[in-house]
Symmetry: C2
Subunit: 425 residues, 2 copies
């Protein structure tokens, strides 16, 4: 393998990889990034698919269809005909193709923050009902802000205590750290499966087991896992999980979250936002809240039907090609980005802030450089779109279904040029 | 005025009213109800606009545009360019054209249930912080189920007590009942402005004043008011309000809710679902939740952008024609429905279960008949779509922007025929 230390070598390798890529054809299924030349320059290289995945062409068609048909023509009847079951049906399908969850355990609703609040409250209450001494919620300092803020809020309102794990920026939370943090007072542990900054993949099976050995529940945040990294929730006996659908699941801006509650826990868990859509008999409209059996009890208000449409399309794409193929492509994309970084970018003082072992790395790569913020601003002007993460991170989020190796190559070559300029600056 | 006791008289009156209707042209702006002949018979008469308003054609176009442009081409940059402010900008516009709320007091986010939970928790906490003796939440037995269930849940978790007002099915909650229910222990009063079953309009100005005199806060549910009945939140010094956008605001199935918090309360109120999008500095991602100043603190997770698109279109329609014109048309539609009922339907034993005084009636009319459930099922088969409400209600929800008098006439004539058939049994 030749070192990728010239633009020609980088482009040649990208061309080879694209030619051999069995998923390359998927790229055509997405809305072109230069579809609308008038609102700004065309995007040359989109490296932020893990913040907001690109829209499938079929998502636009499906939205058009739902407006004219299910909404516009079937009107209110569509609630009976399909929408009442949609959050559970789509949840089942998502569980099957991306989460390793048997039917009846996943629901699509709310935002990730709200779903996290509901499930963590539900888990905490169940843990405390079984043993009032379990007053601790374990979280880590590197978890995504919403997870930390929600846990803080719940601890304050429910008279629980937070136990903080100091996450290493590069390696994330280790099994040993969790083992040290949990004990007879642990109610729940809230961790991200794939770290939003470093892409470090926590050892979900081992950590889940450690938490269970201490008698606690584990709630996994799958925002950066769903659709790109296997999770196998049932196999590893995960208790609770949440995730968003606008990253690798291409659900669109503010698309609804999903929540997972293991079947064995459902009947003893209730969530605090008691709405009519989670009632055992929503249309009787009688006095007194009675939670529905099963996952429906984790729904609160009217589910966001339009927001589920693009997700439904992407879930079928994942089903078509299979999650393993997407995981393999994601690994190849991140490997390539690291190779180019080693060959071309380290001379500018760039560090690789993500794990080098592909088994420990999710679908993105974060590079560190003191000029990250300015360099990214300059790249955005040129149609190369990575993400900035405090304090000095250039986060490259490559969606396996829509990103080509050539796209990564062109983005990193322009990053090289901007780092060169910053270095001279 | 001749009595409307024959089909010919009903149709003739409808034709007159349609000819004189200055809003008749608006009907053309909606997706036709027979746009898709293959998925079922065309709808002849849609009388459920207060459960799910019809889509504007421009909503479909705007969804198409956002997918190809803001999402598909601007991609993640759209968050900076427009979406971060969208929940507040759209809230401001909605407040201006439909709620009588000055800017900075309305946000669009979550489901109605979740928004209600957040604002009631916020209000209860603020009331108790000012005076720990305020432990009561006043609700009424006729309120929409979600409102009652949410209040029950909050009372249980926050050690508050519910004080129930027995709402009369026809007249709803009176000012006197509220006066009797509130006192020095009142924290908050949760009422619907327009009753979901009877369409009775509560005396919002007087009740708000009565609650304030007792030192409590009032939270109005505006689901059946927004876009059809004036509310004037600022003028009447309302404290808190929530509402949905899929009824008279035509936001689509599961469209996001709105929440109103009077500016004078915002800095002392915080809501329990602490998410990154309500943080003072969302992208610093630092430790510790700090609520944003102003209305942003009532946002939790990533706002549902796609779900706001149809609402944005309808809010502009309301702005175009003005709420007073829509209110007047709604009154004319409900008057006409009652006239036809009196002329043609009372002989079947139908009762008018909504107020006859238009000043006390919202945008719908509920008729009572023991065979309501079966009759409605038969009507649905024929493309006439009212709503059934327990135990015996035929609810006629006529959206002033999209419903013609002829449509009401044809629906009620088929209702007449079905009641005739049911009577012959």
């Amino acid at each position: 393998m030749t070192s990728l230390n010239t633009p020609d070598a980088v482009r040649a390798r990208a061309a080879e990889l694209d030619a051999a890529d069995e998923l390359a054809h998927l790229r055509e299924r997405f809305v072109p990034m230069d579809a609308c030349g008038t609102v700004g320059g065309a995007v040359l290289s989109y490296l932020d698919g893990n913040s907001l995945g690109r829209p499938l062409k079929s998502a636009a068609e499906a939205l058009d269809r739902i407006v004219s048909e299910a909404w516009g023509t079937r009107l209110i009847r569509s609630w009976d005909e399909q929408w009442m079951e949609l959050p559970l049906r789509l949840g089942d399908r998502l569980g099957e193709v991306a989460l390793g969850a048997a039917p009846g355990q996943v629901v699509v609703a709310d935002s990730t923050t709200v779903m996290l609040y509901k499930l963590l409250r539900a888990g905490l209450a169940a843990a405390q009902a079984a043993d009032p001494a379990r007053r601790e919620i374990v979280v880590d300092t590197g978890n995504f802000p919403t997870d930390r803020y929600v846990a803080e809020g719940i601890a304050a309102e429910c008279d629980a205590e937070l136990v903080w794990i100091e996450a290493d920026a590069g390696t994330g939370v280790t099994t040993e750290q969790v083992r040290d943090a949990v004990g007879s007072a642990t109610a729940a542990v809230v961790l991200s499966h794939v770290a939003y900054r470093s892409a470090y993949v926590a050892d979900l099976p081992a950590i889940t087991q450690v938490v269970h050995e201490a008698g606690g529940l584990v709630l996994w945040d799958l925002c950066h896992s769903a659709g790109v990294v296997p999770v196998d929730l049932d196999e590893h006996e995960v208790d609770l999980a949440v995730g968003c659908s606008y990253k690798y699941l291409n659900g669109g801006p503010g698309a609804p979250a999903f929540g997972y509650v293991a079947a064995r826990h459902q009947e003893r868990m209730t969530q605090p936002i008691q709405g009519w859509m989670g009632h055992a008999e929503p249309f009787v409209m009688g006095p007194g809240y009675q939670p529905s059996p099963g996952m429906r009890r984790f729904i609160s208000g009217t589910p966001p039907v339009l927001g589920m449409v693009p997700l439904g399309e992407m879930v079928e794409l994942v089903a078509d090609v299979g999650l393993p193929a997407l995981t393999a492509k994601a690994t190849a994309l991140t490997e390539f980005a690291i190779e180019v970084t080693d060959g071309l970018l380290t001379r500018h003082g760039v560090s690789v802030d993500s794990p080098r072992d592909p088994a420990q790395r999710g679908g993105h790569v974060t590079l560190g450089h003191p000029a990250a913020r300015e360099v990214i601003a300059a790249l955005w002007e040129q149609g190369v779109i990575p993400d900035f993460r405090e304090p000095d991170g250039v986060r490259l989020g490559m969606s396996p279904a829509s990103t080509s190796f050539a796209e990564v190559a062109e983005g990193l070559l322009l990053l090289d040029a901007e780092l060169e300029r910053a270095g001279r600056g």
